[in-house]
C-alpha cells in the first residue's frame, strides 16, 4: 500500500482521513459498481454515491442531458433507489471494500434530511454524509435550501443533530456570495464543505424552438465550469476555517492541483468520469509524479500554497 511509497498523498479533513485526495462525485459514479473492474474502488480517496432520498424517486422525463461547449447540462431530477434499497442492495457491495464511502443525501423538507441522517447513522460501512442542499433540478427542494442561508442552517442542524458521522455540506454556486451559505453551514456544525454543485443553465434548439431538456433548465458541469468553481473554493477558503473539498470541471492532474494549491484538501471528479472512466486513477498517479518532480514527499506540502506575490 501507500506506506511503502516514499510519497504520501494522505489528507485529513477534520474527522475524515483519506489515503489520497481524489474522490468520485455524487451522481457521476452511480452506486460504485457501474464501472466494474475498470476502476478498483480501493485506489480512490473516496466514493460519493448518487444522492439518496427517503423514498425512491422516478426523476424527470427525458431528454435529461445536453452537451454544451466543454460541458454538459443535466436534469436527472434526483432519480434514486431510495433509502431502503440503498441500504439493502447497494451498501453491502461497498462495505467490504477498503474505501471511504460517502452518502450524498437530500430531502424535500428539513425533517426529511434529519430522518435520513438518523436512518443512515446506524449502518456500518458509511464513512461520512454529504448533504446536497444545492441540486437546482427539483422544484420542491434543491434550489430553495441552498440559496437561503437560514434554510442551510436548518438543514445542516437537522443532519448534525442526528448523526455522529462526519458531515459534509455541498454548496450550490447559484448564489451571489458563496461565503454566506458556507458560513451558515459552518455555524450549524458541518465538519467539511464541498463545492461546487452544478451551475444553473439552459439550452434551446433553434430549429424547433424547444428547450433541449424536458425540464427546460438544468445544471451545467464539466470543464466549462472550472474557473467558477475554483474562484468559489478560493473565496470559501479565505472566509472559513473548515476543510474544503473542491470540485467542478476537474479532468486532469493540473486541474486537481489548481484546487489543492488554492487550498482544497481534497477534490471530487464528476463529469470527467464519463469522458475517461480511469481519469481518477490517472490523476492520483499524476499527483505522485508532480510531487516527485517538485522534490516533495507529501501532498500537504502543496495544499494552500497559492503564491500571491509577484
Amino acid at each position: 500500500m501507500a506506506n511503502d511509497s516514499p510519497i504520501s498523498l494522505a489528507v485529513e479533513l477534520g474527522p475524515l482521513r483519506l489515503k489520497n485526495p481524489v474522490m468520485v462525485a455524487s451522481g457521476t459514479f452511480g452506486y460504485g459498481q457501474e464501472y466494474g473492474d475498470l476502476v478498483p474502488l480501493e485506489r480512490l480517496g473516496g466514493v460519493v454515491v448518487k444522492g439518496i432520498s427517503l423514498e425512491p424517486r422516478s426523476g424527470n422525463p427525458p431528454p435529461r442531458i445536453w452537451e454544451t461547449c466543454g460541458g454538459m447540462l443535466n436534469s436527472i431530477g434526483l432519480q434514486n433507489v431510495g433509502l431502503r434499497a440503498f441500504v439493502e442492495e447497494k451498501l453491502p457491495l461497498l462495505r467490504p471494500l477498503q474505501v471511504p464511502v460517502i452518502v450524498n443525501l437530500f430531502g424535500n423538507t428539513v425533517e426529511d434530511y434529519g430522518k435520513l441522517a438518523a436512518a443512515l447513522d446506524g449502518h456500518e460501512g458509511i464513512d461520512a454524509l454529504e448533504i446536497n442542499i444545492s441540486c437546482p433540478n427539483v422544484k420542491a427542494g434543491g434550489m430553495a435550501f441552498g440559496s437561503d442561508p437560514k434554510m442551510v442552517f436548518q438543514v445542516v442542524s437537522a443532519v448534525r443533530s442526528e448523526t455522529k458521522l462526519p458531515v459534509i455540506t455541498k454548496l450550490t454556486p447559484n448564489v451571489t456570495d458563496i461565503t454566506v451559505p458556507a458560513k451558515a453551514a459552518e455555524d450549524a456544525g458541518t465538519d467539511i464543505l464541498s463545492l461546487i454543485n452544478t451551475v444553473a443553465g439552459m439550452a434551446v434548439d433553434a430549429k424547433t424552438r424547444r428547450p433541449r431538456l424536458a425540464n427546460v433548465v438544468g445544471g451545467l458541469s464539466g470543464p466549462a465550469i472550472k474557473p467558477i468553481a475554483l474562484r468559489m473554493v478560493w473565496q470559501v477558503i479565505q472566509a472559513s476555517n473548515l476543510p474544503v473539498i473542491g470540485l467542478g470541471g476537474i479532468i486532469s492532474v493540473e486541474d486537481a492541483l489548481e484546487f489543492l494549491i488554492v487550498g482544497a484538501r481534497a477534490v471530487q471528479v464528476g463529469t470527467a468520469n464519463f469522458v475517461n472512466p480511469q481519469v481518477t486513477l490517472e490523476i492520483i498517479s499524476g499527483l505522485e509524479d508532480y510531487l516527485l518532480r517538485q522534490g516533495l514527499k507529501d501532498i500537504n506540502e502543496i495544499i494552500g500554497t497559492l503564491e500571491l506575490t509577484r
Binding site: 451522481g27 448518487k50 422516478s58 427525458p62 461547449c69 464539466g222
Partner: protein, 270 residues
C-alpha cells in the same frame, strides 16, 4: 467492460452521409454481442466532450482477426470529426455495453425491421442468426427517406434474407413508410414470425411494437437515448417503461444498461 484503443483500418463513405469504419480491437471483438454498443471517444479534446454511442455493424472474425465495422451517419460535430479520421488513427472505445438482442428460442421465421441508420446493428444480428443453425425464412423490411439510405442490402441477400425496400420518396422499392406496408404484408403470410427485431426512429419503433402486440409476435427493439456515461452511472438515458412489480410510476429504464434492446411490451409509449 473494456477500455481499449482501436486502430482504424478503413473509413469510407457509402453515401453522402453514411460511412463504414473498420476497427481493429481483438479484445472487444471477442466479447461483443449483436445489439450491444460501444461508447466512442472520438478525439482527445474537451469539445465535443462526451463519448458517442455506436453499435457494431458487422464482425469480421478473420479479416483481419479481431476486427469489426461500424456504420455511422454524419449528423453533428462528433460524427463529422469521425468522418475526417484516417486509416491508422486510433479511437478509444468503452464496451461492450448494454443488453443486446436475444436469439429466438425456436428456429424458423425471423423478421427484421430497419428505418434509416437503424440498419446499423442488424447485419451482425443477421450473421449470428444465420450461423446459429436457423434456416429461416429470414425477411428484412428496410425503409429510408431515399434510395441512398438503403445500404448493405446485398449482404442481407447473401445471408439468405428476402429484403423488402421502402422509400419515402419512392426512389426505390415501395413508396411510403415501412410500417405502412408491413402489417398488410404480415397478415397475408401463412405463418407469423417467431420474433420481430427492429431498430429505427421512435415513431417507427412504436408502430412496430404495437403491430407485434396486435399479432401476438414477440418484439425486440433497439432504442436510442442521449447518453452521458453508457454504463448506468449518470441516469441520463431514460426511457419510460412500464414499472416492474413494486416499482414506482413513472418508471424510467436506462437505455444503456437495461437496453438498448427492449421487449416491445416493456416500453411505455408516449
Amino acid at each position: 467492460m473494456l477500455l481499449r484503443n482501436a486502430k482504424i483500418i478503413f473509413n469510407k463513405p457509402v453515401s453522402a452521409e453514411l460511412y463504414h469504419m473498420g476497427l481493429l480491437c481483438p479484445d472487444i471483438a471477442a466479447k461483443i454481442q449483436p445489439g450491444q454498443f460501444l461508447m466512442v471517444r472520438i478525439q482527445d479534446r474537451l469539445d465535443p466532450l462526451l463519448r458517442r454511442p455506436f453499435a457494431v455493424h458487422r464482425l469480421y472474425p478473420n479479416d483481419p482477426p479481431g476486427s469489426f465495422e461500424m456504420l455511422y451517419k454524419v449528423v453533428g460535430r462528433g460524427t463529422q470529426l469521425l468522418a475526417n479520421m484516417q486509416r491508422g488513427d486510433f479511437l478509444n472505445l468503452l464496451g461492450p455495453l448494454g443488453r443486446g438482442f436475444r436469439l429466438p428460442q425456436d428456429k424458423g421465421f425471423v423478421l427484421m425491421v430497419a428505418g434509416g441508420i437503424g440498419i446499423a446493428p442488424l447485419p451482425y444480428l443477421a450473421e449470428t442468426l444465420a450461423a446459429s443453425g436457423n434456416k429461416g425464412p429470414f425477411v428484412l423490411w428496410f425503409g429510408g427517406k431515399t434510395s441512398t439510405d438503403l445500404v448493405c442490402v446485398q449482404h442481407f441477400n447473401d445471408l439468405g434474407f428476402a429484403v423488402q425496400l421502402v422509400t419515402e420518396d419512392g426512389s426505390e422499392g415501395k413508396k411510403g413508410l415501412v410500417t405502412g406496408h408491413l402489417e398488410q404484408w404480415l397478415t397475408q403470410q401463412d405463418e407469423l414470425p417467431k420474433v420481430m427485431y427492429s431498430c429505427g426512429p421512435y415513431l417507427m419503433q412504436r408502430s412496430v411494437a404495437e403491430m407485434a402486440a396486435r399479432l401476438g409476435i414477440p418484439s425486440q427493439l433497439s432504442m436510442e437515448a442521449l447518453m452521458g456515461c453508457g454504463v448506468g452511472a449518470c441516469l441520463s438515458c431514460s426511457l419510460r417503461c412500464h414499472p416492474p412489480k413494486g416499482v414506482q410510476d413513472p418508471h424510467y429504464a436506462n437505455v444503456c444498461q437495461d437496453g438498448p434492446v427492449f421487449d416491445g411490451e416493456e416500453i411505455f409509449w408516449d
